[in-house]
């Protein structure tokens, strides 16, 4: 049995000896290097580029600008939702950092030097930086026209509006929102914000492209979506997909920033121009401005009755997608439709807007917009419970979406473990005892403790496709051909475990072949926590195809039906007849009449899906499965410094079935720690469109010193009927609730409510001060001394 075991990663030894082949390590004979000149203004027209001085530098092969590209017979624009991003700026620049010219040189140093000798003359246009400003009718327009890409089925129905920065308005209408608010006894309205943040995988974006002897474009890239890179590069170069080969080895992290096309189209075009291998490796400061997490403004209006029922919720979410839409439209829709939270609410209205600005582009970031939404709705759950005097846990429990309940999209929920998650939060926080014990803060001690919780819901990317081939060799070993990228999540290991389980092989006899579009079948993307479910399904069924072929032969051989056969421990035998048994190797030998040949199984897994109504967002089948996640924390906040320390963090995720429990725990923990950074300190700061902390010196991510003193990860298994062995996914589940759980614990500790992320010491101190001032002004003279004593 390979399944359910925490086997070691297949590449473990290579990782501790430093021998993993990352793209960053790759070189080729005659390889040239690239450095980019990037826009210094947020919005404007390129009037002139003088590259003569740069091209005269020894070792510089060529400087390529938009003007050079216009001489080529290529498509200039690419993108997963809208083809709005030029290979290199052609007429206009839209953010500080937009690539304007590419220097191709014999070394990185020469290319970097030459960049400084390029002169660019701009005509500046008025920029727009705030998402709400960009939505106004008289706002400067970032894109004059928008071209839908049509690459993905779920994005075909999106109708962009030209002449506006709102590139997508997603609508959900469920029940009758006005009637709902009439039924409500109390109405709460709050606005929450989150800032842009960055992924910062330890390996930067890097690609190596060359034309081979057949004049096919070959690309090695650190990318999470090789199949998409192939189709998009073939679109850009006007080549058939069979003439573009994309290969991906192990990645040094991804977290969403290496999805779709980032630098691949440009690198390929440069290789086409110079007809030599070209490598483009970004530096970390460039990674910051290549893709960010969407900044959001989310206004939530919620109606509740006196008996504790949410009857109406109106959600207005604005997503700052920056200068290029990237996958923002999908986030706006697919995460947008969960904006009302995992609750059974009869009347829901959601308006979710994807908005262009002149900031760095925003796209997928582990959690895919869900953490921004959970931040708002789970903060408001506690605001309501506090105001109404309700227990926040009971308030959630009484209306959480469980099996059989209807989601606001109209879909009936299944395999959704919120019941168990809330029970475990209750238990781990010792909630009932904690709630019933009166708090007696020590007025002398500046450090105050508090507890908080949050739960969140995400829909998996639907529809999508994963194809797999499983080949069983004559010696009884097998290869799995899959385009899933192992970026550190351990997919090579668990996908191999799934194949080994079906084929009755020890897991070390199965190897997962890395993505190579010449060889491995199409897969939508490695993202959205979808690979275990989608690719796992394809591999399970491809392996079953191999097994079926073996059984076909053995059933004839023993003259029994296939139903009487079993495959276990590398052999096939007739049930209840132990002497009728053939080793897999013997079966193959008998099939081919020699100890050679291979058995090939294949499967393409496609999800069922019903496109939501464009006006109401209603669909019976909008997501093939849902993720349920929860977080419980205990914090300690220092009233004098505003610093929050996490004493205990419990992360819970319903994963359906844990194929490799250790790796599931690692994913839950990793996602939660990443969110601690987002909750407490991570934020991209801009000054007139320039990201001013775009360096690891100024932008801090969680280190050994930022970890919770104690932490626990809890796997909940509510098996999914269509998942491989019941499995769903896990990569993002523990990211959902961290921010509001901490904010709710902060409120529990000090009674202050912060609605803007992150919860920096400055913000906490300001909130304490504000609370004290309003409390002082209410209570006037009589308690002045006591208030002073608290400070």
């Amino acid at each position: 049995m390979a399944l359910g075991k925490s086997i070691r990663r297949v590449e473990a030894k290579a990782k501790v000896t430093g021998k993993v082949d990352y793209v960053m390590n790759m070189t080729m004979p005659e390889m040239l290097h690239v450095k980019l000149l990037r826009s210094t203004i947020p919005h404007g027209k390129i009037k002139n580029i003088d590259k003569r001085a740069a091209e005269e530098i020894e070792g510089v092969i060529k400087v390529v600008t938009g003007e050079d590209l216009q001489k080529l017979d290529i498509n200039y624009y690419y993108g997963p939702a809208f083809r709005d991003q030029p290979v290199i700026a052609i007429d206009k620049v839209r953010y500080v950092g937009d690539p304007v010219a590419a220097v191709i040189a014999e070394s990185v140093e020469i290319a970097a030097k030459a960049v400084n000798y390029i002169e660019v003359e701009y005509e500046e246009f008025e920029p727009v930086f705030q998402v709400l400003d960009a939505m106004k009718e008289d706002a400067p327009i970032v894109h004059d026209t928008i071209r839908p890409a049509g690459s993905f089925a779920d994005l075909k129905s999106l109708l962009p509006k030209s002449g506006s920065n709102i590139c997508l308005h997603y609508k959900l209408r469920h029940g009758d929102i006005e009637k709902g608010f009439e039924e409500a006894d109390h109405i709460f309205e709050d606005t929450f914000t989150t800032p842009a943040a960055v992924h910062l995988p330890m390996e930067q974006h890097v690609a190596l492209a060359y034309l081979d002897a057949e004049e096919r474009m070959n690309i090695w890239t650190a990318n999470q979506s090789p199949s998409f890179v192939r189709s998009e590069v073939s679109h850009v170069l006007k080549l058939p997909e069979s003439k573009v080969r994309v290969r991906v080895p192990y990645l040094g992290g991804g977290f969403g920033t290496k999805l779709y096309v980032k630098i691949e189209a440009l690198t390929a075009v440069l290789a086409l121009i110079v007809k030599k291998p070209v490598k483009l490796a970004l530096t970390m400061d460039e990674v910051f401005i290549t893709l960010t997490k969407h900044a959001t403004v989310f206004t939530l209006k919620t109606g509740v009755t006196n008996d504790g029922k949410i009857v109406a919720r109106k959600c207005t979410v604005a997503w700052d997608t920056g200068a290029y839409a990237d996958i923002g439209p999908r986030i706006t829709q697919k995460s947008g439709f969960t904006a009302a939270g995992p609750y059974d609410i009869p009347h829901v209205q959601i308006d979710s807007y994807c908005v262009y600005t002149n900031n760095a582009p925003a796209g997928a970031f582990r959690g895919f917009g869900i953490p921004q939404l959970v931040w708002a709705y789970e903060s408001q759950m506690d605001i309501i419970a506090d105001k109404m005097g309700w227990d926040p846990l009971e308030f959630r429990k009484s209306q959480v979406l469980i099996e059989g309940k209807e989601h606001a999209t109209g879909q009936i929920m299944n395999s959704i473990g919120f019941g168990e998650i809330l029970e475990k939060i209750d238990d781990r926080l010792d909630w009932k005892t904690y709630r019933s014990t009166a708090k007696q803060p020590d007025q002398q001690n500046p450090r105050i403790r508090g507890r908080g919780m949050a739960i969140g819901l995400k829909a998996v990317l639907t529809p999508s496709i994963s194809g797999a081939v499983v080949t069983l060799f004559a010696d009884g070993s097998a290869s799995v051909y899959s385009s899933t990228v192992d970026m550190g999540q351990g997919s090579d290991t668990i996908l191999g475990q799934i194949a080994a389980e079906v084929l009755g092989l020890p897991s070390d006899k199965v190897r997962v072949v890395h993505p190579d579009t010449d060889v491995t079948p199409y897969d939508t993307i490695t993202a959205a926590s979808r690979s275990t479910f989608y690719m796992g399904n394809a591999i399970q069924k491809a392996a079953e195809d191999v097994k079926r072929q073996l059984f076909e032969f053995v059933s004839e051989y023993y003259e029994v039906s296939s139903e009487e056969l079993e495959l276990k421990d590398e052999a096939i035998f007739v049930r209840n007849e132990p002497d009728k048994k053939l080793a897999i190797t013997e079966v193959i030998k008998k099939i081919f009449k020699m100890p050679a040949g291979s058995i090939i199984g294949r499967y393409v897994f496609e999800s069922h899906y019903q496109s939501p109504d464009p006006e109401t967002g209603q669909s019976d089948d909008v997501a093939i499965f849902w993720f349920a996640g929860g977080t419980a924390v205990e914090i300690e906040v220092d009233r004098e410094t505003g610093k929050i320390d996490i004493l205990n963090m419990v992360s819970l995720g319903d994963v359906g079935k844990a194929i490799n429990p250790f790796q599931v725990h690692q994913q839950l923990y990793g996602a939660a720690i990443m969110q601690i950074g987002q909750a407490l300190f991570e934020e991209c700061k801009y000054d007139h469109g320039q990201m001013i902390n775009a360096s690891m010196a100024d932008y801090k991510v969680p280190t050994f010193k930022d970890l919770p003193a104690r932490s626990e990860t809890i796997i909940v298994e509510d098996p999914h009927p269509e998942g491989p062995f019941g499995a769903k996914g896990v990569g993002e589940t523990a990211s959902f609730g961290v921010q509001p759980a901490i904010a709710n614990a902060l409120h529990d500790a000090l009674g202050v409510r912060i609605k803007d992320m992150p919860l920096t010491p400055e913000r906490v101190l300001a909130a304490i001060k504000e609370a004290e001032e309003s409390s002082n002004s209410r209570q006037k003279v009589s308690v002045t001394n006591e208030a002073k004593g608290e400070r």
Binding site: E11, G18, K19, M202, G253, V701, F704
Partner: protein, 161 residues
């Protein structure tokens, strides 16, 4: 203007011609094809390019190659011997203390120096010492466990000697 330097690299004497601005990291990666150490932040703040210069961990991205004349350089590639993995590698392997693996060589070399200085580190001492090595996948919990296991493996090894 290049200058010739001589140093010991993973136990072997070597020579190299280095430019004044060349970093130790570039020298190791480009001239000696030792790619275990990598450049991430480029500022000496993330620990991914950590290598040992005469026993001391340094950020290869900030360290000038020309300054290592006569020094002993150890990289991740120099830890494994014919007898197998170094005890710290063994501990990282056993504890599965990595995800993407990009930071792992730097973590292991930093932990090596930590355990040489302090064979019995407490949890807080590990945190203080390792704070400059970042793991964005956040395998921190397993890295802790690996360093603790390595400490005990190294003690056993001393007993054997």
């Amino acid at each position: 203007m290049k200058r010739q330097i001589q140093f010991t690299l993973n136990g072997k004497p070597v020579t190299a011609d280095v430019a004044p601005h060349e970093t130790l990291l570039d020298l190791l990666r480009d001239t000696f094809q030792l790619t275990g150490a990598k450049e991430t932040c480029g500022l000496g703040l993330c620990g991914v390019c950590t290598v040992l210069v005469s026993g001391k961990p340094v950020s290869g991205c900030l360290h000038f190659a020309s300054s290592i004349d006569g020094e002993e350089i150890v990289t991740i590639e120099g830890l494994e011997t014919e007898e197998g993995l170094h005890p710290i590698q063994e501990a990282f392997y056993e504890q599965k203390a990595f995800q993407c693996g990009y930071c792992t060589p730097g973590m292991i070399l930093m932990a090596k120096k930590l355990l040489e200085e302090n064979p019995n580190p407490t949890e807080d001492e590990i945190k203080d010492y390792m704070v400059g090595n970042i793991c964005r996948c956040a395998s921190y919990a397993q890295i802790f466990a690996a360093i603790q296991e390595a400490a005990s493996l190294l003690k056993q090894e001393k007993v054997k000697l």
